[in-house]
């Protein structure tokens, strides 16, 4: 076995004075030192002192990401049972397993910010915290499995790649692993879609029908345009890009790839404007986004209730193993 003491620590030993906001100084001085470190591209670690605003913002951001990974498992896991070949079943099981693993990693990052995992589950299931819009919709056919893994994960990875440089160190490092796995999901999803598109007429129609349903939620996914100067998550460098920058990036990479397969994107206004260097598109239905993310989407209540029932049905297991053993084991 490797001697742990022989390894270099991942984090360099703290040089006294190098992280001066940790010193016992008046609040405003600490705040200023902390802020200038972050704005200069520095990383914050869990044992650092941090302003309440920063801790709360990182926690809210990571917790919603973790919730989304956990809830995002549900639409896809229904199809693990129905995967039509051994290879697809193995790939889909592994993919959903990755998402559960991401939820675990992210809840652990959030736990270190002070909120216990059970409290995060309580808030999610009580509707007090949110999860991403795309996981509030039903999966109706096998083609949805391709479209989700290819395009929903692609839209997500555009955002997630920008988080690898987050100012919060544990989140940035976790995102490196997550992005690597998500890029494998995209290949899996594209393979499912390409196989269907080179198959029978029924299979091709299945993909187009799925794309027609998912396009709206995909365009809403990154959220409405926002004012860069007012976005505190950008200020603290928790994230790096605005919602519109992410949507434009997604369109630039994926519109040609979607069209190349012979699919039709259900937006007649979609076009690249050479003059502005940006994509023009029909205004996404922001009312739908608000409705959906406040848990009034087509599957919101059903999925939350499924999780509540499942959590209640497995509570005895957690009681048994997380408490002290009753006799010497």
């Amino acid at each position: 076995m490797t001697d742990p003491l022989a390894l270099d620590p991942i984090l360099a030993p703290t040089d006294p004075g190098a992280r001066p906001w940790n010193d016992d100084l008046p609040h405003d001085e600490r705040f200023e030192l902390f802020e200038s470190h972050v704005l200069a591209g520095g990383k914050i670690e869990p044992n650092d002192w941090m302003p309440d605003e920063y801790r709360t913002a990182v926690l809210r951001f990571v917790e919603m990401h973790a919730n989304s990974e956990l809830m995002g498992v549900l639409p896809e896991r229904e199809w693990i049972m129905r995967a039509p070949t051994l290879r697809r079943k193995l790939a889909l099981t592994a993919k959903v397993q990755d998402e559960v693993g991401h939820a675990q990693l992210l809840y652990r990052v959030a736990e270190d910010l002070g909120k216990p995992r059970e409290a995060m589950f309580d808030d999610l299931l009580a509707g007090k915290t949110k999860f991403h819009n795309v996981f509030h919709y039903p999966t109706k056919t096998w083609a949805d499995i391709g479209i989700i893994a290819w395009l929903v994960d692609a839209a997500a990875i555009v955002a997630q790649q920008a988080l690898r440089d987050s100012s919060y160190g544990p989140y940035a490092r976790t995102m490196q692993k997550i992005c690597w796995e998500e890029s494998v999901h995209i290949m899996h999803g594209r393979d499912v879609v390409v196989t269907l598109m080179t198959g029978t007429d029924t299979q091709r129609a299945m993909v187009q029908e799925a794309l027609d349903r998912w396009w709206g939620p995909l365009m809403q996914m990154h959220g409405p345009r926002s004012d860069r100067t007012k976005d505190r998550d950008l200020h603290w460098r928790i994230k790096a890009k605005t919602s519109e920058e992410l949507r434009q990036e997604f369109l630039t990479i994926y519109v040609p790839r979607i069209l190349e397969l012979g699919l039709v994107i259900p937006d007649r206004e979609l076009a690249f404007d050479e003059a502005t260097g940006e994509w023009r598109y029909a205004d996404p239905d922001w009312a739908e986004l608000r409705t959906v993310v406040t848990n009034h989407g087509p599957m919101s209540e059903e999925r939350l209730e499924f999780r509540r029932l499942n959590r209640a049905a497995t509570a005895w297991v957690r009681d048994a193993i997380l408490s002290e053993p009753r006799s010497a084991a």
Partner: protein, 259 residues
Amino acid sequence: MTPAVTFEPRVSAALADFLLSMADDEFVIGFSDSEWTGIAPILEEDVAMSSLAQDELGHARALYELLADLRADGHDADALAYDREPEAYRHARLLDHGRGDWATTIARRFLYDTADAARLASVGEGWPPLADLVAKIRREERYHVMHVTLWAERLANGGGEARSRFLDALEALAPDAGSVLASPDGESALIGAGILTRPMADAASAWRADVAAILGPLGITLNLANTEARPARAEHGEAFRWLWGEFTSVRRSEPGATW
């Protein structure tokens, strides 16, 4: 892979049946386990259970591929796994129950993994492709037994509800547990060809001793007498018919298509 040895017909037929029963066992338990993906009692265990399911499905695929090579009738592993009527599956009766609660899942895995270990230990060098595959499978199954034994201990020592649920599940499954090690048709031919090194009855005795050695210290005695009220590997019930309906649904929606 081509079978390196040519067997006389009665050995080939017995070998094909034996491969199909092992493959179907791994296929069906892999399905039951993958039903927990995303909803296991804790996230850490969720990830572990998905890995077990993938291992079992990987074993099933490798066994179906061997069978496809042996039969050489143009049916590939997917066709073997998916394109049969429910009555044609040959998994053991132990696996013919719905997923059930966590205690049922652990009890089923415990009884199956220990029995499967005894079966794998009975495979000889008579057909090298199978011997090689079994060596690989045993390396993985060793960890499955360690995992499920730990769970069995935690549930048995977990006090009131955990212990009583686990005991109930073991009692409910025990009458069917011996089905995994029921003697296959043509067993003597398989032993004669060196494909098996011992009768399954001997493997079953070793398995009962293994189970008693683990459960005994936990204060659990289980009657694993092999009652043959129903055939060990046929007449699958409603739970499997439902499962079959699910796992073939997409494939049946466009027969002959590539997925």
